[in-house]
C-alpha cells in the first residue's frame, strides 16, 4: 500500500548512483525485499514501470530478490533462519525453528535494499 513512495525512493537512489557513475543507460536494477516488509513485489514492479518513464531507468529490468526471515530466539538463543508459517507474503508468522517460540527478535527480513545496478557507460579506455 505504500509501494509508490518506496518505488520513488528506489528510483531516486538508483538515479543518484547512475549519475555519480556517468551511466548513459541503466540496464538492470536489483532490489532485495525482506519477506516481512509490507511490500507487494508485483505492485512495486508495476509502479516502477510507470514512474521511470523518460528516465535513464526506462528500459531497465527490475530484479526483486526476496530476503528470508532470520531471527534471534529470546527463549533458546537460536540464531538463523526462522520458521515461517504461511506461504503468503503477508501472513507470515515467525517462529523459532528449534523451540517453536514466537517471542523472537527479527534480525533479517525487513529490508528494502537497493543492492546493485548494471549500467552502460562510455569506455574511456577504448
Amino acid at each position: 500500500m505504500h509501494e509508490l513512495s518506496m518505488a520513488q525512493a528506489i528510483v531516486d537512489t538508483v538515479l543518484d548512483a547512475a549519475k555519480k557513475n556517468d551511466a548513459q543507460e541503466i540496464l538492470e536494477v536489483t532490489v532485495e525485499v525482506g519477506k516481512l516488509t509490507m511490500l507487494n513485489p508485483e505492485q512495486l514492479k508495476f509502479l516502477m514501470d510507470i514512474i521511470t518513464e523518460d528516465t535513464l531507468l526506462e528500459n531497465a529490468e527490475l530484479i526483486i530478490e526476496e530476503i528470508a526471515v532470520e531471527i534471534k530466539c529470546s527463549s533458546c538463543d537460536f540464531k538463523g533462519k526462522a520458521s515461517t508459517e504461511g506461504s503468503d507474503h503477508y501472513l507470515t508468522i515467525v517462529k523459532c525453528p528449534e523451540c517453536g517460540e514466537r517471542n523472537v527478535e527479527i534480525t533479517k527480513g525487513r529490508e528494502c535494499n537497493v543492492k546493485n545496478i548494471r549500467i552502460e557507460k562510455v569506455d574511456e579506455d577504448a
Binding site: H2, N116, V122
Partner: protein
C-alpha cells in the same frame, strides 16, 4: 565505445527511517517525554481512547494526530486543551519517522510528559515504519470482525499492548472476543491484551495502569 559496468549500491531504504526513528527517540529522551504510537484500524476507537486518556491520566499530555486529513482528529484533541500537532499524510497510508521528526519540532516538549502519536487507521503499512516511540499500542474493535488479528499478524507480533474495543457489542456483530484474544496470544504470547468498551468506560483504568507501568519501567 560503451562498456557495461556493475555498480554496488547497498542502500536500504528502510534503514533511513529506522535511523530517523532512533533520532526521534533520543530527542524525546532528552526532553523526558514518553511516547506511545497508537495504531489500529479505521474506526477502532484510537481517537476516542486518546481523548479519554487525556481526561483521566495524571500526566502532561501532548498529541501528534496523524491522518490522511488530520484536522478533524486534531480539532477533537485541541478541545481537551492539550498541545496538538496534526500531520497530514495525504495519499500515504502511514506515518513515518521523518514526519514525526517535524512534529516534534513543533511541539512544546518541555511541557509534555506523555506524547500520544495517533497513526493512520491501518493495520498493514505502519508495521514497516518505526517512529521512535517507546510503546506500540494496537487498538482494534470487535466490529472489524473476529478474524482481524489472524489477517494482520505482523502488527500484533510487534505490539507492546493490545486493546480490543467495543466488546459490549460483540454479540450484536457476531464476534468472538475469546478468539481475538487467543489469536493475539498465539502471535505474541507475552503481550498484555485489554478488553474495553470506551463508550461504557470499561477497561480504561487497566489501559492507564498498563501505560503507567511502561513509563515506570523506562
Amino acid at each position: 565505445m560503451h562498456k557495461i559496468a556493475d555498480v554496488e549500491i547497498q542502500h536500504d531504504i528502510m534503514v533511513a527511517n529506522r535511523k530517523l526513528a532512533r533520532q526521534n527517540q533520543r530527542i524525546m529522551d532528552q526532553k523526558e517525554v514518553f511516547s506511545v504510537d497508537v495504531l489500529g484500524a479505521i474506526g477502532s476507537g484510537k481517537t476516542s481512547l486518546i481523548e479519554k486518556l487525556i481526561d483521566h491520566m495524571d500526566q502532561k499530555i501532548g498529541v501528534i494526530a496523524g491522518d490522511v486529513i488530520s484536522k478533524y482528529d486534531a480539532g477533537r484533541f485541541e478541545s481537551h486543551n492539550v498541545p496538538v500537532v496534526g500531520l497530514n499524510t495525504g495519499k500515504e497510508c502511514h506515518l513515518d519517522a521523518h514526519l514525526v521528526e517535524h512534529a516534534l519540532h513543533d511541539l512544546p516538549l518541555e511541557e509534555i510528559d506523555l506524547l500520544f502519536i495517533e497513526n493512520v487507521g491501518n493495520l498493514i503499512c505502519p508495521v514497516d515504519f518505526d517512529l521512535g516511540s517507546h510503546l506500540r499500542m494496537v487498538v482494534i474493535s470487535v466490529s472489524e470482525g473476529d478474524d482481524t488479528v489472524e489477517k494482520h499478524p505482523l502488527i500484533f507480533q510487534d505490539a507492546d499492548l493490545v486493546v480490543i474495543n467495543k466488546v459490549d457489542i460483540a454479540d450484536a456483530v457476531g464476534a468472538s472476543v475469546e478468539k481475538m484474544v487467543d489469536d493475539v496470544k498465539q502471535l505474541n504470547p507475552d503481550v498484555q491484551v485489554i478488553l474495553s468498551s470506551l463508550k461504557l468506560g470499561k477497561g480504561l483504568d487497566e489501559i492507564i495502569t498498563a501505560i503507567e507501568s511502561y513509563i515506570g519501567k523506562k
